[in-house]
Subunit: 227 residues, 4 copies
């Protein structure tokens, strides 16, 4: 009698539970202070979580912020085992580059272009070896002026171009935040301000910036990864 | 008898000579290594001299090169008495700015924007006090790529913008070489090369560069100064 | 009657007042943020004022702080008319150099050694032309470690050496704060700390630093200027 | 009969040959342009080879230069598999650090102190995992002045101190070239020249510099590795 119950009721339930509860997928957001703030109240990762909730997808995805202030590509390389691979992520969204450019000016320790490419490639190789889907973001802005007079625009554009090439070479999907921010500012920054449109200080996201980044990430991720 | 000769022959000759030989006007070209090279064989100042010759104006104008390699606005300020005012110039064409930006990267001794403006203004004031007509050039290029990925494009654009404002504020005519080079490259640099279009190395002029600069300077000077 | 009173009483008093009240002498302290802080509560200029009071000399000397944060030699040159010469000083104590070195690292806009010397000389010439007695201070410290491992020690020593030469060349008395700080730290900083001995942050003076600077300035000024 | 010959003559010869011909030991010299030049005619590695020859040790040791111009610790890390581990070295002499400091000034891409330590440690760990004996050199000089006025002395001393700590932490033998050069210059550079004592240009070795480095390396290696 008991055995029958188990056979008739519990086993099917168990089977069902396995069908209806697939393993959650983990997405790690790997970056610098922009991503560190993105994991806090109002940050772009929090906005993404809310978007997933609204779609009823929050049970299926775990979003993990792995941003540390002042990080360059070297730092990501050094801490990727502990902060990314240890989470067994299914996808990793890498957003790095601002400090690789900025630190040239502020501390003399920016990143050579050749080393930027080599260490970025090394990170991707290690992630892909673990079957992670890797997304690459271009650095959005250091200053929001639209006439290319932000002091570091040239170098930032150069590193954005490097990242576009790295994405191609490694078959990674690109999330082109640099292009997104430039386009948005061309429309919405008629006074050519250096901050206050999508950022608070030219670099870190304000509310509109967090929304714009979350929207773009959702758009790209939903084409390939989110279902 | 003698007196008659003087009256009849020499005096008219002297009068004629004053009519046919007005004082030559002096134009000093004041700048950095680009101008230093501009005064050499094939340089833009030599091309300008040839243009004046072709128009029969070479007797009327003295062109003096006063360019010294590695100069920034500070250097111009320090040597303007000896190298410019001592020549009693009627016009001065100032072309500075590349090293003010470049030295930030290569030696940590570039020029702060506020100091660039203040010393530039001080130079102009001193020249105008001597009744010089002052022309300001924007820095043409550090790299000839057209997609704003030359490493220092942002800062160079910023200093070009500063110079446009300085020109306005001091009623100086602008010779906008930055704009000229950008426009030329957009048409003639389809492969987005960083050198070899108007420059040999991204900064210093090749033959076409010297011709383009001489043409533009002639165009602007002839509107206001050359007759 | 009234006239007699004036003649007998007031006139002698007036004469006396001119005898007993020689014109106060003015000393301007010309520098950067260290001097800006030096003019505030507890700052080295305030300590010097107290020392003059204690010696009954405060009626004879006016101490004026003319320090502005982030200043380099260029800034002193640009504002010396307004901030120094306009005060008709009898003596000027110049303390500059930290930012000329530091800004090479933090913003790429430090001061070339040759320009440092030329602008410093130009400042001294203008002051001496007005019969000012000029005192030169060497920059005290960027970091207080005693084993020459403060990041900018080499360059700071180089600029201190430049200032010692400038003082000699212009017959200015030197106030060698760099040497003073090194000697003091060799005795009092056995743990090789980078701050907290004479400074709060490696650069700006703490209480002991303000006392040490005031003592040294008093010592040097009293040999030649204070009576 | 034939078998007897083999037994009596050839076998003992073979045995002898194994006794008298132990495997050669390989030492890789891993570094920047100083080491790249060290492997050329007159370079310190060539001097070391000559010293081994003179001692009759050249049959026992293979010296391999693995220096590449402009290398920083990052570059060593990136190319250590191909250029060092692929040679199966018994010992590796690492000499790096000059560009990690210098590039802060000349290109804004020097190495942060924390990254210098982390990547250096990572290199050592990988080498020690292959049973290599690892020797660490401190960077000798950027400028030979003895009064600590070489522009980058402070930072170079700081990185030399980092390397001394890295050696201790990883049980590596230190070859303290910084100390060697300072001591030598204090004795032999009375005029406080910035080059020409042990270097041609303040950084790269002249004949005396190559001899001094070879001597010191021989001294240290012979205490622990060479027999």
């Amino acid at each position: 009698m008991k055995t029958t119950l188990i056979a008739l009721v519990i086993v099917p339930l168990l089977v069902l539970s396995f069908i209806s509860l697939p393993a959650k997928k983990t997405i790690v957001f790997f970056g610098d202070s922009i991503t560190e703030q993105g994991a806090k109240q109002g940050g772009y990762i929090k906005v993404l979580e809310k978007m997933l909730q609204d779609k009823g997808l929050d049970k299926s995805y775990d979003l993990i912020g792995a941003g540390i202030s002042a990080n360059k590509v070297y730092d990501l390389y050094l801490r990727m085992e502990d902060d990314v691979l240890a989470k067994s992520p299914d996808a990793v969204v890498i957003w790095i580059g601002v400090n690789d450019v900025w630190h040239k000016r502020t501390s003399g320790t920016g990143t050579d272009a050749d080393k930027f490419v080599k260490f970025y490639n090394a990170i991707i190789k290690k992630l892909q070896a673990k079957n992670c889907t890797v997304y690459l973001c271009t650095p959005a802005a250091i200053g929001e002026k639209t006439d290319y007079t932000n002091e570091l625009d040239g170098d930032l554009n150069k590193y954005a171009a490097l990242i576009r090439n790295i994405a191609k070479a490694n078959n990674c999907t690109l999330i082109d935040l640099r292009q997104l921010f430039l386009n948005y500012n061309l429309k919405n920054n008629p006074e050519n301000k250096d901050r206050g449109i999508l950022t608070t200080d030219g670099v870190h996201l304000n509310e509109k910036g967090n929304a714009a980044v979350a929207d773009e990430m959702y758009r790209v991720l939903s084409q390939s990864f989110l279902k």
